[in-house]
Symmetry: C2
Subunit: 250 residues, 2 copies
Amino acid sequence: MRIGVFDSGLGGLTVVKQIKKILPEVQIIYLGDTARVPYGTRSPEIINKFSGECANFLEQKNIEMLVIACNTSSAYAFEKIQKEAKMPVYEMISWGVKEAWEKTKNGKIGVIGTRATIYSHKHKNEISNIWERACPLFVPLVEEGEIEGEIIEGVVNKYLGDMPKEIDTLILGCTHYPVLAGVIRKVVGGEVALVDPGERLAKELSKLIKINELSQGDEYYFTDMNERYLQVAQMFLGEKIMGKVQKISL
Amino acid sequence: MRIGVFDSGLGGLTVVKQIKKILPEVQIIYLGDTARVPYGTRSPEIINKFSGECANFLEQKNIEMLVIACNTSSAYAFEKIQKEAKMPVYEMISWGVKEAWEKTKNGKIGVIGTRATIYSHKHKNEISNIWERACPLFVPLVEEGEIEGEIIEGVVNKYLGDMPKEIDTLILGCTHYPVLAGVIRKVVGGEVALVDPGERLAKELSKLIKINELSQGDEYYFTDMNERYLQVAQMFLGEKIMGKVQKISL
């Protein structure tokens, strides 16, 4: 089973990590658009264009399933990609929503994401009373390894310090955010359930996928790559990037 | 006089601001690669490619002079662009160095910039004992309007808190940094001279340029544009973006 996964950059590797935890036998063909990351600050038109180019690249890699790991791409480009793809396509928004609905006890749900994701109101379309908050500084901070300490705590507090007390479930609507779960908990309180859409997606895939043969080894493609990217990639993936790492142009 | 100015994004508008202050009559043809900003976290190969595409675009706009406002582009792409261009090309590194040499009293100079700019050691090639520090979080913070308050002060302190006491002159080696002059002064002390290479470049241009006719109105091109970008653009430029704003593809 060859699963294509793309993301604006390295963050989607947190989704790959979840998939590989439950389905270690699948073969991952990953594309990170590191030359043009981040997507979450850009306009819908550009997000659509870049996401479509990522999907096209992976579709030519003989994949049997396509995962749009980037929540921003999921919010703006899923419909078009799904319509044109010849294989099943999965996105992140609906899994986050599903998991949150199942976890909440009082129906009070929040979602955090990039500016573009939040402004798309895709989560709000499903949960009309959802509390939404764009957290545009989380991605650059995580990419700089600022995942604990005063600076990130200050920023988390800036965005989430005023989260309504009644919210009992918070969707982490960006692939970078699971890495911040610890500091987010510190600010919003340990009793709030944090939803990682990638974790739920991995569970769903495990119900669908039957493995008949041994994996051929993963492939990782990036539109830009250097030593530091590799380090961050391994932080997200939680292991060394084994298999093929290749730099490509879209 | 038509001057082409390009930058990875909006930051180069601080250079335009300096040019227009001294030379209000020149016509600015600005290109901001907002669809692919930032450059300062990417690899030399990609920086070179993107910068070359920006230069090519402007060269076709009938400009008489080209300014590479982006310090990261200046560090990696100046030689190649200059070699191929049919008009004079100006970059930022050498003007920052020149101004710093003239301002320093004790010869102890520092430079801050993006990771790519600092790792290029272009300043160090000119000033061998220079103190260098990459400040990768400054760009995203400034773009989010975090230019005063606890968060930015914490980050400035993280990068500059250990700057050697003997440094009397600090080059702001990124177009975004002049906006942070206030908070940088607070951390490094008011007696340190801050060098804005864009200011010096504008002075140099004013010696060269003779205006014979009235400006035709500025033109601003961006590879991505939305309402928020426009707001940040005006913060950098210090005035409303008059003239033509157009979204283009490279």
